[in-house]
Symmetry: C2
Subunit: 666 residues, 2 copies
């Protein structure tokens, strides 16, 4: 029995009909990235300040242990940066991100959120004043936007900064309990400074939102600055290694020079020039959302790897077969794997677009504004679809491990806890998806009513709306050969999407409010993203021949992943196709059959496909997901290493003995 599992694993690995090594390097972004990543994993694996060493288990940590350990990781990375250079520290940091999402988030709020606000919204002097300190951790920053009463709905934030011309300072206040800054990552125990978004009042006039750099703590003794009130947000569902906090301001004075003034200016006399467009003040949210792609493949990829490895070594049922052989397993896990490849592949496209927009460096505000609709549409729905579909994938992975996912030591519980943030933080998904739908409906209307379409510097995610009239003219899909699937599928999805969108548009033209069609609009936003992922991958992998430099076996498996995703996406929204009279029952049934057949045909590729994500055992942490398939004894040993797992029950004398020592009355 205990020999069967490793044997199963070896056979599954050998069954890959592509080069796992080649696909791993492709996934990593090339040979150089692959080698650097492997070197970094090898380095952190035995470093006790970056990775918790056995017999201690990070999955058992209390809140206090988590908080301290993740700050220790940051301290260690800072040491490496100073002693061994920033490039190596970067590689080590990336590896540590994958090992711990808490570290990743805690580092990110300083290194990305805080730094990007100073960089994108501060003028040259302000950048010179702050950035070197930020990059060398002499200042540790946080991003204070969300408030208790209205989350991140900027219109409704209540924090107020009032200009005092007499002293040339702003006075910042939290006038109500609901104005308390809430969830601010890094503020609970760490940050010396925050960028704070606040209503601005100058000479009694409300001048909209501005960002202020506010010192929170003394850099030498860690005490709170005058007028600052801070508490740790306490116990959360996940992310125990992030010191989210709440902040209240009581007449906190900051010099005028700490209002960020790249787009706005305020002179000594209180003359205020607003930003050319208020949207530039929130531009930092776009790269934040795009960075979610990385987080998704890191976290969800791990859960899928765990469920997949367990699925091929676990045997159960009448024929004692590998549980991965059950339809309920492979037809759920395989589309999830394909989603990872789609998301990873789209990342390079979107990074490229973002590079064009920022000229590889800073973003031009006019370019940004011109492209904002498009970048906002795709980044918002990407967060929506990846947030929600990934939640489903996590639940699939959890169930696929049966009871063993309920053990904290098998990692999936931790991932689910950490992932929760992605569906409600950084913009609620319902709100984001309806924003995407709203932009798309606007574009569709432009195209249909005025035959207009904006000129962009790259191929927009909405380019298929250019053919909207053609799609709307053929409302029933005439299937040709479902098996020659790639091209058909793409047309089907694009057309269905245009029809669905148009149907929402018509309902709104006929007097319905967005709230009346909210659930449909949200699904349209999701579907836009699903279709974008597919069409982007079709461009890369839809041809018979691989692109230059791509290994043929990699091209071939990526093509199969693409087709699988195309089918999954269309099936996922087939109810909309049905409701729009676009798809017939027979079409959906034949597509479903083809989908199951395709999954079945890929069944033996699951280990190769997930090995290529490249997560080492110490990163996955789960004994049931060991690379070599020898899972049961190590699982038992993990339990034996847990604190208070064996020996006499501590409260036996207090609560148990008084009951059990009694003798029954005769």
């Amino acid at each position: 029995m205990s020999l069967q599992a490793p044997k199963d694993m070896a056979e599954e690995r050998a069954a890959a009909d592509f080069s796992i090594d080649k696909l791993s390097r492709f996934w990593a972004g090339g040979d150089e990235q692959y080698e650097r990543r492997e070197k970094a994993y090898a380095y952190i694996k035995t470093d006790p300040e970056l990775v918790v060493q056995p017999p201690r288990n990070i999955l058992e940590f209390t809140r206090d242990e988590w908080r301290e350990f993740s700050m220790g990781q940051i301290f260690r990375i800072a040491q490496i940066a100073m002693k061994e250079g920033r490039d190596w520290a970067y590689d080590v940091g990336i590896a540590t991100n994958v090992y711990s999402e808490s570290f990743s988030m805690r580092f990110f709020v300083h290194d990305s959120l805080f730094r990007n606000v100073v960089k994108m919204l501060g003028n040259k002097e302000q950048q010179a004043q702050w950035l070197d300190d930020v990059e060398n951790f002499r200042v540790y920053g946080c991003f204070a936007m969300t408030e208790l009463g209205h989350s991140s709905a900027l219109r409704d934030i209540e924090t107020v900064a009032t200009y005092d011309q007499a002293t040339d300072e702003f006075v910042i206040d939290s006038p109500t309990v609901t104005s308390t800054k809430w969830w601010i990552g890094g503020s609970g125990q760490t940050s010396t400074h925050a960028v704070v978004i606040s209503q601005t009042v100058i000479h009694g006039k409300h001048r909209g939102h501005n960002w202020f750099v506010v010192q929170l703590r003394d850099k030498f003794n860690g005490e709170l600055m005058p007028g600052i009130r801070i508490g740790d947000i306490g116990k959360k569902v996940g992310h125990d290694g992030v010191d989210n906090g709440w902040i209240q301001f009581r007449g906190v004075r900051v010099p005028r020079s700490q209002m960020l003034q790249k787009w706005v200016t305020l002179d000594r006399h209180g003359n205020y020039t607003p930003a050319p467009n208020p949207a530039v003040m929130y531009a930092t949210l776009i790269p934040e959302r795009l960075s979610l792609i990385t987080v998704t493949t890191q976290m969800i990829g791990q859960a899928i790897t765990i469920a997949t490895r367990y699925g091929v070594v676990r045997r159960q049922g009448n024929k004692n077969q590998q549980i991965m052989d059950y339809q309920s397993h492979y037809a759920e896990i395989l589309p999830a794997i394909s989603f990872m490849y789609m998301v990873k592949s789209a990342a390079s496209t979107l990074d490229h677009q973002f590079d064009i927009l920022t000229g590889g460096g800073e973003m031009d505000p006019m370019d940004y504004l011109n492209h904002m609709g498009d970048m906002h549409a795709i980044s918002a729905c990407l967060k929506g679809l990846t947030g929600w579909y990934s939640s489903e994938i996590l639940e699939t992975c959890r169930r696929a491990c049966g009871g063993h996912a309920y053990s904290a030591y098998n990692g999936i519980g931790q991932i689910i806890g950490d992932w929760g943030v992605m569906t409600t933080g950084g913009g609620d998904n319902v709100v984001l998806l309806q924003q995407t739908a709203r932009i798309l409906i606007f574009r569709l209307t432009q195209k249909l009513e005025m035959d207009e379409y904006p000129e962009l510097k790259f191929k927009s995610s909405t380019h298929y709306l250019l053919r909207a009239k053609e799609y709307l003219a053929t409302p029933h899909w005439a299937v040709r050969d479902v098996k020659a699937v790639t091209k058909d599928l793409k047309l089907m999805e694009d057309a269905l999407f245009a029809i669905l969108l148009n149907s929402i548009r018509e309902a709104m033209n006929n007097g319905k409010t967005l709230n009346d069609v909210l659930l449909d609009a949200v699904r349209a936003g999701e579907m836009h993203c699903a279709a974008f992922l597919y069409s982007d991958a079709v461009e890369k992998f839809g041809n018979a021949q691989p692109a230059p430099g791509v290994d043929p076996s990699v091209h071939s498996i990526m093509q199969r992943m693409t087709i699988l995703w195309g089918m999954k996406a269309l099936l996922r929204y087939s109810d909309q196709g049905f409701k729009e009279n676009f798809l017939s029952a027979e079409q959906v049934k034949s597509l479903e059959e083809l989908f199951i057949e395709t999954c079945k045909g890929l069944r033996k590729q699951v280990i190769g496909l997930t090995d290529s994500f490249g997560f080492p055992d110490f990163v996955l942490k789960a004994p049931i997901a060991k690379y070599d398939g020898d899972i049961y004894q190590p699982y038992l040993e993990t339990l034996l290493q847990a604190p208070n797992s064996v020996g006499k029950t501590p409260y036996f004398d207090k609560y148990i003995k008084p009951l059990t020592e009694r003798v029954a009355p005769k």
Copy 2:
């Protein structure tokens, strides 16, 4: 602002168009039950051994604190039982169950699982030997079925008990690591005894499974008995108050008299008489599954109450409106509420059926066997549907609270963690739902091919299959008036179900295996349960006049809940109706519109409907769900009471100061 929330709450409460008091009493099961429950809540609220008193917060407990506190609760209940009588202890226990699912589960493994095995499978002498000790906590029991390698697939369990005639004992062994008993609730730190299911070998012959009472720990000093190896299972995703454990047996000797012998017998010479039907050995699993109904309304009802109360006091968006007014909110929350009422209502039907089966007391084995197919079918799919749909509801509730569900202090995270067990423990849902489908296909085949149907002592959940031929003869549903919905809906669901089932049956007749149609079969199992809940409620609330003793306003709101559930159920499976060419796009669209309209019409009833669940604030624990709607200041105060939430960062000198005290090089 801080005055708006309580005002909103009061207005929502006043808007109920039924008597909240009457519905609360109806939900509780009548006036007497209502009064007893309220008395018990009032009692436990201030008892520090049953309910954690502020400023401590149970939602912040470590594993060790949870383990000890929940044993303290059991100890306290035992004291009450001995000093103040079992009836009062029972009421207090029920209230404590609602307060803590960990307590509920830990008590249940002893008081139900262990006790029921002894009672249902032990002979008179064995019952006399054990039951009084069990009921008075002189023996604390656990239920040792699941094993590491094959969970609860009984065929594959590896623990073996070998009869040694020389000493008239059994020798119990765990021959492999995979045979380790795993997840055994109560075994980690508490149990003195276990009922252990084991392969049985007598005189070298394998004689199937038997249950043994095995002593695990000394009752006076808590030490493990010879040959017993036990460890606590450690950190889990939830249920930290339950000491799940693992157990290995190394030549453990138990007297023959501890093999439970109600259905089997073994004499001193090793003559073995097997059970009349092996199924009687697992009969205890049926009431276990039915008990899930109670757990569902307890746990999911709390999450819905939290999300609902927050939903009416939180304001957000362009018009700063109550978030409950958004379609994405009310169209998800209301069907979830109706599901609670359906499940609660079905409980009385199933309890009544179970009473018939057990004559109000012990179950006759022949009656049991005759009815087993039916009871198994409904109990299995009930676990499947409630497990999965409730998971969806929890995710809905979590998202409906935005970021604030991510705070552990708002309770939903704890409920989600605890609930996880319901989808993978006690029989995997995929397995259970396909078992239901298999039984139903068998019944359908009987009916169609032989016009046979079993005679049962009660109206079976499968009674609609009696009309299968009629349904199959009208494969397209001719909608009459969707608005006169109750009767139409029921026929639609019954017919669709018969058609779906027949379609699976035909696929299998044409050579497909169950695995080839597994996903459809699983959905058929789910749908059977959804339709059963609906048809059961239609019988109770479908008439114009209320049943005797039911308040008219209660009857009216229950009728609306019933219709809402009927629509939700049909929409949930409408993709199957579409694939079977049973439902047209127009039918689905008009049903969907009617569904949204019905939800909208019930929008203002949400507070009355959830108030009637009767959860006090101290049970819900969540500051964002306070009964009076005054949520923000108490939420902040909850954080202030958390350990280490304010004051200097403990690791400031170690990790932060060395970075921030440095001065930038000039």
